[in-house]
C-alpha cells in the first residue's frame, strides 16, 4: 500500500463565514503502480481530495500518508497535472519540462537526457522551442504530463486532465496516457467526471457523492486492457455507475426516467 487515506474530513469556510463539509470520513488505500480513478458529480469533493493529496490543503481531520509519511506540503514526489495545463507561459516546452529537474538540482547532462526522453515519450519532437501559446490544447497537456513525469514522482496526480480537450483529442490522449503508463508504470490518481474514461483507464474506481463529499464505493475494473467498450460486462458496469450517479445528481425521479434499456442492462 502506497497511499493511505484515513478518516479524512475537510471543512471549507465560505466567504460568508458558513462552514461547509467538503469531505466526510474518507477512507481508502492505493497500491503501488495502481491506476486509481476518482469519479463523481460536481461538488462531491474530488478536487478537494486531490488538493489534500497534493498537499495544497490540510485535512480538518484524519490523515493522508504516502509511503508511510504524512503529507504536509506540496512536493515533486506528488507531481500534479492540472485541467488547465498550468504551463509557465514564459518558458518554452523544454524549459517547462526542465523546471522540476532544476528545482531538484539534477546535473545538466542528466537534465538534457531526461528532457529528450520525455519529449519523445509524449510525442512532441520538433516542438521543443515553442512557447505554450503556440501549442494546441492536446499538445499543452502533453507538455504538462511530461513536466510532471520528468521529476519521477512517487504518485502522479491528475485533476480532470483531459476535460478541456475536444472529444477526438481526449480519446487519443487517453490512449497515449495508457501507453506511457504501461511503458513507465507509476501510481496514478486520476480525477474525472467521465465514467467511461475511468473504466477505460483504471484498475479501481472510487465513486464519490456530494453533500457531504464522501466515497460511496470503490469498484474494481477487472478487465484486461485495452478494454472493449462493447463487452457486456463493461457496459453493465458503466450503466450501473451512471445510473447511480444520475440518481445522486438529479434525484430518484430522473433515475427512473432513465431509458428502459439502460435500466435493463443495469438490472
Amino acid at each position: 500500500m502506497q497511499v493511505d487515506v484515513t478518516n479524512v474530513s475537510k471543512v471549507h469556510v465560505s466567504m460568508k463565514g458558513e462552514p461547509l463539509l467538503a469531505l466526510l470520513d474518507v477512507n481508502f488505500q492505493v497500491e503501488k503502480n495502481e491506476f486509481f480513478s476518482i469519479v463523481g458529480p460536481s461538488g462531491c469533493g474530488k478536487t478537494t481530495l486531490l488538493n489534500l493529496l497534493a498537499g495544497f490543503e490540510q485535512p480538518t481531520r484524519g490523515e493522508l500518508k504516502v509511503g508511510g509519511a504524512t503529507i504536509t506540503a506540496p512536493g515533486w514526489e506528488r507531481a500534479v497535472v492540472f485541467q488547465e495545463y498550468a504551463l509557465f507561459p514564459w518558458y518554452t516546452v523544454v524549459q517547462n519540462i526542465r523546471y522540476g529537474l532544476r528545482r531538484k538540482r539534477v546535473p545538466e547532462s542528466e537534465q538534457r537526457r531526461l528532457v529528450d526522453h520525455y519529449v519523445s515519450l509524449v510525442g512532441l519532437g520538433g516542438f521543443e522551442s515553442r512557447y505554450p501559446r503556440e501549442l494546441s490544447g492536446g499538445m499543452r497537456q502533453r507538455v504538462s504530463i511530461a513536466r510532471a513525469l520528468a521529476v519521477n514522482p512517487s504518485i502522479l496526480l491528475m485533476d480532470e486532465p483531459f476535460a478541456s480537450l475536444d472529444i477526438q483529442t481526449r480519446e487519443y490522449m487517453q490512449d497515449e496516457l495508457l501507453k506511457i503508463w504501461q511503458q513507465e508504470p507509476k501510481t496514478v490518481i486520476f480525477v474525472t467526471h467521465s465514467i467511461d474514461e475511468a473504466i477505460k483507464l483504471s484498475d479501481r474506481i472510487a465513486i464519490m457523492a456530494p453533500r457531504p463529499g464522501r466515497v460511496e464505493e470503490i469498484k474494481t475494473v477487472d478487465f484486461s486492457r485495452p478494454r472493449d467498450p462493447t463487452n457486456p460486462a463493461v457496459v453493465r458496469l458503466a450503466a450501473e455507475v451512471k445510473l447511480w450517479l444520475r440518481q445522486q445528481v438529479f434525484g430518484s425521479k430522473a433515475a427512473e426516467e432513465a431509458t428502459l434499456a439502460d435500466q435493463q442492462i443495469a438490472r
Binding site: 495544497f56 504551463l87 509557465f88 507561459p89 522540476g100 528545482r103 513536466r147 510532471a148 521529476v151
Partner: protein, 319 residues
Amino acid sequence: MSEAGPRAIPPPLPEVRARQACEEESRVAVDAPVRATAERRVPIAPEALARLAASMVPPPPPAWRRALARISRLWLLVAFVLVWELVSIFGQRINPQLDVMMPPPTAVFSAAADLMSRGVLFTHIFDSLYRVLLAVGAATVLGVPLGLAMGWSPRFRIAVDPLLEFIRPIPPLAWIPLSILWFGIGDVQIVYIIFLAAFFPIVLNSLAGARDVDPYLVRAGLSLGARPRELFLTVVLPAALPHIFTGMRVGLGIGWMALVAGELVAAPSGLGYLINNARTLFRSDYILLGMVLIGVLGLVLDYLMRQAARLAMPWHKGQ
C-alpha cells in the same frame, strides 16, 4: 424435395428472403475487423497550402502604395500645420504683434537652429533626459520590489499600506518647496520630484502584478518542488512582468510631466527651464520649440519603453 401438402410451411416470401440475406451479411460484418471507413486523403504540404490560399486572394498592394497610405494618414496634421502657417503669415499683416503671440510653425525650426548654433539646445535636452531617466530608474529599482512584496504578502501590505496611502495623495509638485529646502535648486531636487511622481504608479502596478498571479501557476511551481524564494523568482516575477512594465510606462509618462513642471518652477537648465526663460524674454518661438521637443521626446521615450517590454517578454502577445 418437400411434400407440398395443405399444412406444409410455405417457402419464404421474396422480401423475407431478402431481409434474411441482409441479416446474414451484417452478422458476418460485425465479426470482421474494424477499419477506418475512408482512406485518409494525402495531406497537402503546408507550403502548397499557403500558395493555394495566396492564389485565392488579391495580391497585396506594392510597397510604395502601402507607404503612401501610411503617410496619407497624417493629412489632418499636415493640414493643421499649413493652416497655422498661413494664418500666421497673413495675420501678421493685420496685427504685427501676432508674431510674438502665436509664432508660425516655421519659427520652431529657426529657433532650433538658433539655439543649436549657440550650443545650448542639446544641453537642455540632455539635462532633461538625464534627470528623468535617473529618477525613473531609481523609482523602478525601489518601487518594483516594494510593490511585488506588497502584492505577494498580505501581511506586508497591511503593514506598509497606511504610510504609502498617506504620502501618495500629495502631488509631487507640492513637494517642491520642501525639496528646495533640503536639496537646494539643481539636479538632485528635480530628480527627487520626478522620482516621487514615477514611484507610486510603479509600486501599484507591481503590486497588482504579484497579486494577480494565476494561483494554478503557483500550485504548479509548488508541486514541482519550488521553494518560496525560487517560486518568487521563477513564477511570481515573470508572471508580474507585464504589469511591471505597464507601471514603468505610466511612471515614465507622469515623471516626464513632473520634470517639465519642476523645471518650470526652479531649474538651472532643461526644457522646462527653456520654456520659462523664453517667456521672460518674450521669445515665443523658443517656447514653441520647447513644447514641441517635450512632446516629441515624450513620445520617443514611451516608444522605447514599449520596445523594451516587447524584448523582455518574448512570450507575451503584444501590448
